[in-house]
């Protein structure tokens, strides 16, 4: 494809997609803003918040692409940090777990440096092997065994959820280039974020339009079978037409989009269940525009590693 704008380090494919995304953002922001003038509802606030986080992601992506890819690594790394901080502010841990928490925070710069270096072998085992041995050991060293089981499970889960999964987004950019595939790691990253977020939006939209049968009423009362299946189908269709961002064949793209949609749902309900357990479920007084980082990344933290390894398997 030809470039729309010459002289910037983005391939023609990515320029088109970014143009489309910016277009969608401008139109939807204007739409919600005008609609909000007449009538405001919790659903609209939710939509506005989603649009806001979309703007942030688009800006981050553009800055990274235009100025320096290092910004992307730092940006995604900070996203991990903010999510982990939020996680620890909500879950109840023991006073003696603070050393373990410190090491979990320290895992972030190490993991993202490994992604930046492109050291695949260590990147892929650093958290699930080394940290998973080290963190329980540090907890043991604190000498307090009461409730240690909860902490031994909670801390590794926290870095798996907030650091390990998301860091694959950074590694996508470090992947070596494939001949004849111009969009590269940036294209893959764009595809992943676009499909994951679109799946969220489409689940929401289909659920609002047709939602009748609740899928997991105890965990997420707003989720319905209709929304889930609608999101799944929409994601496959959107993914099919966006396949020029990936080096995958048509059949592979359909499979990958299907998995992103399914796993995105799984990530969403896993985080929902944790929130419910921690008693932060009531949305009554939620301040508009201040939804948590975890709300934004719950599906991404699961879709990212799945997408990464599917692409790694098919194309590398």
């Amino acid at each position: 494809m030809n470039k729309l704008i010459d002289g910037i380090s983005l391939s023609g494919e990515i320029q088109i997609v970014i143009g489309v995304i910016l277009g969608i953002l401008v139109v939807s922001s204007l739409l919600f803003w005008t609609y909000g003038l007449f009538k405001s509802s919790p659903g609209l606030t939710e939509l506005k918040m989603r649009t806001k986080s979309w703007w942030a992601m688009a800006t981050l992506f553009l800055m990274a692409a235009l100025i320096s890819p290092i910004i992307t690594y730092i940006g995604i790394g900070f996203l991990s940090f903010a999510a982990l901080r939020e996680f620890y502010s909500v879950i109840q841990l023991r006073r003696t777990d603070r050393v373990g928490m410190l090491f979990c925070y320290l895992a972030i710069p190490i993991q993202y440096t490994l992604a930046y270096m492109g050291w695949y072998e260590l990147f892929i085992i650093f958290i699930p092997v080394f940290m998973f041995i080290w963190i329980p050991f540090v907890l043991v060293l604190s000498g307090e065994t009461k409730m240690i089981m909860t902490s031994m499970a909670g801390l590794p889960t926290s870095i798996m959820l907030c650091v390990f999964g998301l860091s694959h987004m950074a590694y996508l950019i470090s992947l070596p280039s494939i001949e004849g595939f111009a969009a590269g790691g940036k294209g893959l990253l764009l595809f992943l974020i676009f499909i994951t977020q679109m799946n969220d939006v489409m689940q929401f939209v289909w659920g609002k339009l047709l939602g009748r049968n609740k899928i997991l009423p105890k965990i997420s009362p707003n989720k319905t079978w209709e929304g889930f299946l609608g999101g799944l189908l929409s994601s496959i269709v959107i993914g099919y037409f966006m396949r020029f961002l990936t080096p995958l064949s048509e059949l592979e793209v359909i499979l990958v989009s299907f998995l992103i949609a399914g796993v995105g749902f799984i990530g969403d309900v896993i985080v929902s269940a944790i929130k419910r357990d921690m008693g932060v479920k009531d949305m009554g007084g939620a301040i508009p525009g201040h939804g948590g980082v975890l709300d934004r990344i719950d599906s991404l933290s699961m879709t990212t590693p799945i997408f990464f390894h599917m692409v790694y398997f098919f194309a590398y």
């Binding site: 620890y88 502010s89 949305m283 007084g285 939620a286």
Partner: protein, 219 residues
């Protein structure tokens, strides 16, 4: 010069550090603006409290605002008391009131500071308490403010800062913290006991307000 130095430390460094890394958010910080002089009364959970509050003081007030701290800890030797003054702008007071002439009286020291036109940051609980629990306020704040009726008292409740640097812990960790700044209290006819009670009540109101704003999630 002193103002510029404190500006660099508190506004450029600590404010950025606390908002970006630790995750501190002020709710109602504009209530600090527009006073010639004030007394802040806050709950006390960690050593990070005074620094966090200083970082939210308007730049022009920085050099005139002094957190009040215990002399036996922050002045236990010359070096530490120098650091306390240089980097934290602390005023040090003894914990006990003077029993005989010649001793320094804590209320007298604070009173002199207020008469000098200085603003103070007070922790009326006296010492750092458990996170999420408010100890009974000491009556010192009432006795002090009884003689300084023109100065507004700004109540503050800090929620979550006890998890940043808990008492008896050396590791500072990030944790989402919200700091609620209440409307200024103006004193008219009240007695010392009444002033203490009013301040305590207003801080408790902020605490209740914070409880209705626990971290919220959607879906």
């Amino acid at each position: 010069m002193r103002g510029l130095f404190l500006y660099i430390i508190f506004k450029l460094w600590w404010k950025t550090f606390f908002s970006v890394i630790i995750g501190v958010r002020f709710i109602g910080a504009r209530r600090f603006i527009g006073h010639e002089q004030f007394v802040l009364a806050s709950n006390h959970n960690s050593h990070a409290d005074a620094v966090t509050l200083m970082s939210a003081i308007p730049p022009t007030m920085l050099a005139k605002t002094f957190p009040v701290a215990a002399a036996d800890y922050f002045g236990r030797n010359k070096f530490i008391s120098f650091i306390s003054w240089m980097f934290l702008n602390l005023i040090l007071i003894p914990r006990k009131r003077a029993s005989e002439a010649g001793e320094k009286d804590p209320i007298q020291i604070m009173d002199d500071a207020l008469k000098d036109g200085k603003s103070l940051i007070l922790f009326p609980e006296g010492s750092r308490g458990e996170a999420g629990k408010l100890q009974t306020f000491k009556k010192g704040i009432g006795i002090l403010m009884e003689n300084n009726r023109k100065i507004p008292i700004i109540p503050i409740y800090m929620e979550g800062i006890g998890r940043v640097l808990p008492k008896g812990n050396k590791i500072m960790l990030p944790s989402l913290t919200k700091i609620y700044v209440g409307d200024p209290i103006y004193i008219h006819e009240e007695s010392a006991e009444e002033i203490t009670a009013i301040v305590e009540k207003r801080v408790l109101e902020l605490k209740d307000k914070s409880a209705s704003f626990r971290p919220k999630f959607n879906s």
